[in-house]
């Protein structure tokens, strides 16, 4: 994008200069012709002395070049904002599509389920009624979950300048372990940390919290069916950056198949339909890391676990 923006400006400037050059060349050529002079440096100096207007005409390449530069600048700005608008439009389209689908779906389910309950209440067995009520509860929960995910996405897209500061990894994870206490207890997850070799990162505290929260909840959510989740988070000093290794023993992802889509918005890979998700988490993780001038990479073996390698800045 940057490269193309420069070329638009350069093109206009060069065009202005070249067009500008044609003025002095043409006028001097004519003047030589009218005065019966050969077209060379000596004649050019002579006609300049005879007719000072040539000095003014000589500035044409500079003036037109500058005009071209300004025109290119405006044009490029317009192009850029158009491009940005197109990107915003496109993500709005996807978002609208996802909202209609993901929020409409559970809402339709709730409507249909309550209709069954109210229209055929008398003929339903107690077990069937219970099943229906369970399904309604599930659908409401799923609706809320999706709604909250969308809200976090919208909040993220709207958020302006980052307030970056020195953040302690250990404090952030300790806070999260308290916040996620219920999920951790229920799943029997063990979280081991070692931040001695890289205790601090220079990032937005809110983002760091969100990044680690998403990764920990994912590790618990996509745990292996036959073992309790184990999460290891450690950090190291790596050439001016902090390298964070986040590994789990979960069900893993087939990266050969899905690798290119792993961090894409609204993509999901879980083979288990009972696990809820909206395909927003890892997209946010990557985006938030990149907004803090960091990077993230994933390695995974299906059935064995996943390792995320994250690099974040150590200072501003």
């Amino acid at each position: 994008m940057e490269k193309k923006a420069i070329s638009v400006r350069t093109k206009y400037t060069l065009g202005g200069i070249l067009f500008g050059l044609s003025f002095p060349i043409f006028s001097q050529f004519i003047d030589c012709l009218l005065n019966d002079l050969d077209f060379n440096w000596a004649s050019i100096i002579i006609i300049h002395q005879r007719n000072v207007i040539h000095y003014v005409v000589d500035t044409a390449p500079i003036v037109l070049g500058a005009a071209g530069f300004l025109l290119g600048l405006t044009h490029q700005k317009k192009n850029d904002s158009n491009r940005q608008l197109r990107i915003i439009n496109k993500s709005l389209d996807t978002l609208t599509y996802k909202i209609t689908h993901d929020l409409r779906g559970p809402a339709l389910n709730i409507k249909a389920l309550t209709e069954i309950l109210s229209t055929s209440n008398a003929t339903l067995s107690d077990t069937k009624k219970e099943e229906l009520i369970d399904k309604i509860n599930e659908s409401v929960a799923s609706w809320l979950l999706t709604f909250e995910d969308f809200m976090s996405l919208l909040r993220h897209e709207k958020s302006g300048a980052l307030e970056q500061k020195k953040c302690s990894l250990q404090d952030t994870v300790s806070d999260l372990i308290q916040v996620l206490d219920y999920d951790i207890q229920e799943s029997g997850a063990k979280i081991k940390t070692d931040f001695t070799k890289g205790p601090f990162v220079f990032v937005s505290g809110i983002y760091l919290n969100s990044i680690l929260k998403n990764l920990i909840t994912n590790a618990i959510k996509y745990r292996h069916a036959e073992r309790e989740p184990e999460i290891n988070i450690s950090s190291f000093d790596d050439d001016g950056m902090v390298k964070i290794i986040f590994s789990d023993n979960g069900s893993g992802i087939d990266l050969d198949k899905y690798g290119d889509k792993l961090f894409t918005l609204f993509e999901r890979f879980g083979e288990k339909p009972e696990i809820q998700g909206s395909g927003i988490g890892l997209y946010l993780v990557k985006d938030q890391i990149e907004k803090n001038n960091g990077s993230i990479m994933a390695q995974s073996k299906p059935g064995e676990g996943t390792i995320f390698t994250i690099h974040l800045p150590i200072t501003s």
Binding site: Y97, H101, N109, K111, G270, E271, P273
Partner: protein
């Protein structure tokens, strides 16, 4: 109205278990359908079911070919359109006679237009599917069975 039991095997492809539950309810409790219903939670599983591969191969039984497939669009692993792309390539004996109706909660016109491009898709229905729509599909595609 047509008796739905002129067909005897229906395949539901949807990742949303409540949707499956509602479709089963519509079939058995509302339309009094007594035939087989099999549910797959994504396109990949449905393809395995049709080809008798994957999890369906191991348990040894061969599965009857469905008369009707109700296919959702948005599913993880393999969505409805990806399923159709693969389905087209299946040998004739595996897909002959199957009617596919797409079922989605999306209101997007693009999905509808895209579905129209697939010759194998006979209907496109926005959820929830009603008794009238379901019987309409059966009537349209299997009506001659009732007469013969």
């Amino acid at each position: 109205m047509i008796d739905i039991n002129i067909i005897s095997n229906i395949l539901l492809v949807d990742d949303d278990q409540t949707s499956i539950f509602l479709q089963q309810h519509l079939l058995t409790d509302v339309c009094n359908y007594t035939g087989k219903i099999h549910a797959c939670h994504n396109g990949k599983v449905a393809l395995d079911y049709l080809e008798n591969k994957g999890e369906f191969k191991e348990n040894g039984t061969s599965y009857p070919k469905p008369d009707l497939i109700l296919l959702d669009i948005n599913m993880p692993v393999m969505n409805g359109f990806e399923f159709l792309d693969r389905y087209v390539l299946l040998p004739k004996e595996l897909k002959g006679g199957i009617v596919i109706s797409m079922l989605t909660s999306s209101l997007n016109k693009l999905d509808r237009d895209k579905a129209k491009k697939y010759q194998d898709v006979s209907d496109f229905i926005t959820k929830p599917i009603t008794k009238e729509q379901l019987l309409g599909i059966v009537e349209k595609h299997f009506g001659e069975r009732a007469n013969s």
